[in-house]
């Protein structure tokens, strides 16, 4: 995908996201349909007439008591004068208690069984909606009274305010929202599975695994966040559920910045991850309120994520702009935890998918190029042997031997055959044992000795048996040495030496007595290019080659780091 295409997708996504956030902020799904109750009066204890509207509750308190008791709760709701209604009114609430609910003194519902002790109490569901009988749903003020007990809750009561409205809307709309959010969650799940497969089957890059886990955590988070609209569960479970949500949030908060760190190859990734984890634990210990700890954790997480993506953006790393936009989207979404944070994350996921697919494409391109390069080098190596300069000159020399000394001619043919044989064995390898390389060099020198009537030798010093080298690199350097040898002599020695120190391998090839003039080595021949390409293929950016004149002759030093 081209950069411009990616930019277009980014822009469209940003506009879409901004629109959604604004829409969700303006349009609370239940806003137009409900009337909230107002004025809370609370009294611990029990009384026969406490449900009646005309009872004086002016002495009552307006704070919810600690959970471990039986108490009453009263509130008022004003119904507008309505046109004729054919759909029932209802009241809905989420409270971590068992209760009875009275409408103007009439019992209209019961959730579990209220009791004076934990043994007497039967757990009610956390979220419930009750129908208000038509005869009671007249215009004007009404009183809602509730008799509650919450012996199995945590100290503080978890409570969603009672709201009154069209019963169908009250019960249906949250489920519709949950359906949409589950749809999104399903997408996260599929993406998580996909990247898990990629990680385990194809490409063991940690960023892929982290991304999969992040998607998985968000999937779980959404499932547990929105399933409450259609699953009835006893109220004590609400506290476990909140605990799980906080844990998942903390996990996502850890995974997001860590994923970005691995994605953009931040140094000291593991250390940073551990530091982040330590800070999270510290926050959890520091605040007694779990919500405050969660808030601190989320903000630290986003600060880190923003920092990492900004750094990547400054370094112009591929995918950094997508990541940055995604993190910002999440941050905006954070304003309203219920829905938009998940939408924000959805955008982060979309952006990340976009940049990952671009990267996967680039990687496969790079892989193909590497294969092609490898094939080209092989062809180049084989071609160097059938190039007329080598092959036809060799055959011409052979003719001269045939006429002069058939015995030598036969030896010549054998030597030549050996060189070709070795060449055939190694040409499609990326690395070969150094002994094989030396054998190739010697075979070549034997051929050249017979061709040019000069005694060529290769002496070796300190060679580590079994060390791997790219094929035909010393062979090529020796060939270069032969080509540039201008002196007429009877004998010429090449010396190959090897040293290894601190994970650094050094090969030195000396062409004894060889003097090369400046213009010669300034102009780089195909041979040198071949050697460099082979080294780069095997040891990307970890090698050096330095040709230089020494008193003993022309020396080429090849250094390979990090072995």
């Amino acid at each position: 995908m081209t950069n411009s295409k990616s930019r277009i997708i980014q822009s469209i996504s940003v506009v879409l996201f901004a629109g959604l956030v604004v829409y969700l902020h303006l349009a609370n799904p239940l806003q137009d349909a409900v009337i909230e109750a107002s004025g809370l009066r609370v009294k611990v204890g029990d009384g026969k007439n406490w449900a009646w509207p005309d009872m004086d509750d002016s002495e009552w308190q307006n704070e919810v008591p600690s959970a471990d008791t039986l108490f009453w709760l009263r509130t008022t709701v004003v119904l507008p004068a309505a046109a004729q209604r054919f759909e029932p009114l209802g009241v809905s609430m989420s409270i971590s208690a068992s209760y009875e609910i009275y409408w103007d003194g009439h019992l209209i519902g019961q959730n579990g069984r209220v009791g004076n002790s934990a043994a007497e109490e039967i757990h009610g569901s956390y979220s419930r909606a009750f129908i208000i009988p038509d005869t009671l749903a007249t215009a004007g003020p009404h009183q809602i009274a509730m008799r509650l007990s919450s012996f199995d809750g945590v100290n503080t009561l978890s409570m969603g305010w009672p709201t009154v409205g069209n019963f169908l809307i009250l019960t249906r709309r949250p489920v519709v929202l949950a359906a949409f959010m589950h749809l999104l969650a399903g997408a996260f799940l599929m993406i998580a599975i996909y990247y898990l497969f990629i990680y385990f089957i194809n490409d063991r890059r940690q960023a892929f695994l982290l991304f999969a886990l992040l998607c998985l955590v968000f999937f779980a988070l959404m499932l547990i966040e929105f399933s409450r609209f259609y699953i009835d569960y006893p109220y004590p479970f609400q506290f476990i559920r909140l605990g799980i949500i906080i844990l998942l949030t903390a996990t996502a908060s850890l995974l997001l910045p860590v994923f970005l760190m691995y994605r953009f190859s931040v140094l000291q990734k593991l250390r940073s991850t551990l530091a982040l984890l330590a800070a999270f634990i510290l926050f959890a210990l520091l605040f007694d309120n779990a919500d405050h700890s969660a808030m601190a954790i989320v903000f630290l997480s986003f600060a880190t994520a923003l920092g990492v993506s900004l750094r990547a953006l400054r370094q112009r790393q591929p995918g950094s702009s997508e990541a940055f936009l995604g993190v910002v989207a999440c941050l905006i979404g954070l304003g309203y935890f219920g829905v938009t944070i998940f939408l924000g994350f959805a955008f982060l996921v979309v952006f990340t998918l976009l940049s990952l697919s671009i990267q996967i494409r680039k990687d496969s391109q790079a892989h193909e190029e590497a294969l092609l390069r490898s094939a080209r080098l092989e062809v180049q190596l084989l071609k160097s042997r059938i190039r007329p300069h080598f092959l036809l000159n060799t055959l011409t020399s052979l003719i001269t031997w045939v006429e002069e000394s058939p015995k030598v001619a036969v030896a010549f043919i054998e030597t030549l055959a050996r060189e070709f044989e070795i060449l055939n064995e190694i040409s499609d390898q990326q690395e070969i044992p150094v002994e094989q390389e030396i054998a190739l060099c010697r075979a070549h020198l034997d051929v050249m000795s017979l061709r040019q009537e000069v005694r060529y030798h290769l002496e070796c010093d300190g060679i580590a048996a079994g060390d791997q080298v790219p094929p035909a690199i010393f062979h090529t350097l020796i060939e270069n040495g032969l080509t540039h040898n201008q002196i007429n002599c009877d004998e010429m020695v090449f010396r190959l030496s090897f040293t290894q120190q601190n994970g650094r391998k050094t090969y030195r090839l000396l062409a004894a007595g060889l003097v090369r003039n400046g213009t010669d080595h300034a102009r780089e021949g195909t041979g040198m290019k071949y050697v460099k390409a082979r080294l780069q293929e095997c040891y990307p950016d970890r090698w050096q080659m330095q040709p230089r004149p020494t008193p003993a002759g022309w020396e080429t030093q090849i250094t390979i780091e990090g072995t």
Partner: protein, 232 residues
Amino acid sequence: MRVLIVEDETRIAKYLEKLTREILSYQMSTVHVCQSLQAGLVCLEQHRIDLLLLDLNLRGEDGFEILKKLVARRFQTVIVSAYKDRAVEAFEHGVLDFVPKPFSRIRLEQAFERFRNNRARSEYPAKFVAVRLQNRVRLLKLEDVLYFQGARGYSEVHLRDGKTELHDKPLTELCKVLPPVFERIHKSFVVNMSEVRDILVSSGSKYELALKNGKQLPIGRTRYKEVRQRWL
């Protein structure tokens, strides 16, 4: 006959020398062998030679730059090279022959035959004629040449634009590499026949060739018949 062999491979150089001596055995001949181009160029300064046997791919340097200088000289050049794919290019520069490696004695004999036979023409005609200027060599396109005129063992090159240059080879040697459109009409003239307008016959069996630019060149009495036959 004086021959210079420039070949970097010792064995091949020796072999060439041996074959050359055998082939030319009945002729008085000297054979020089040089194993590098530099040594070859030095040798050319010191000795007059008639034929150069040259390995074109000479140790990394661009053979054609060298070749340009060599074909401008008086002697004939025969390339002995493994780079057969560059034979045409070599011929176009004006070499007498191109012997691809590996070669046989018969093939080499052919090359010498081409040199000895004055009526012989190279396998593939030249496109250029090289002339030595003060410090450099210029390749003139043969299609720009009107005619060559022999002068004291050299050849004057008369060009379409009226200019005249000097080429080192005598007309007889030059003819061996020229395309068939160049006809030797006279002991001292070789003419580009595509530039001819007419043949003029004057009284006293005086024959002349009229060129398109109005110039008139004499046709040798002995060659008139042949020229007439071939071109009219």
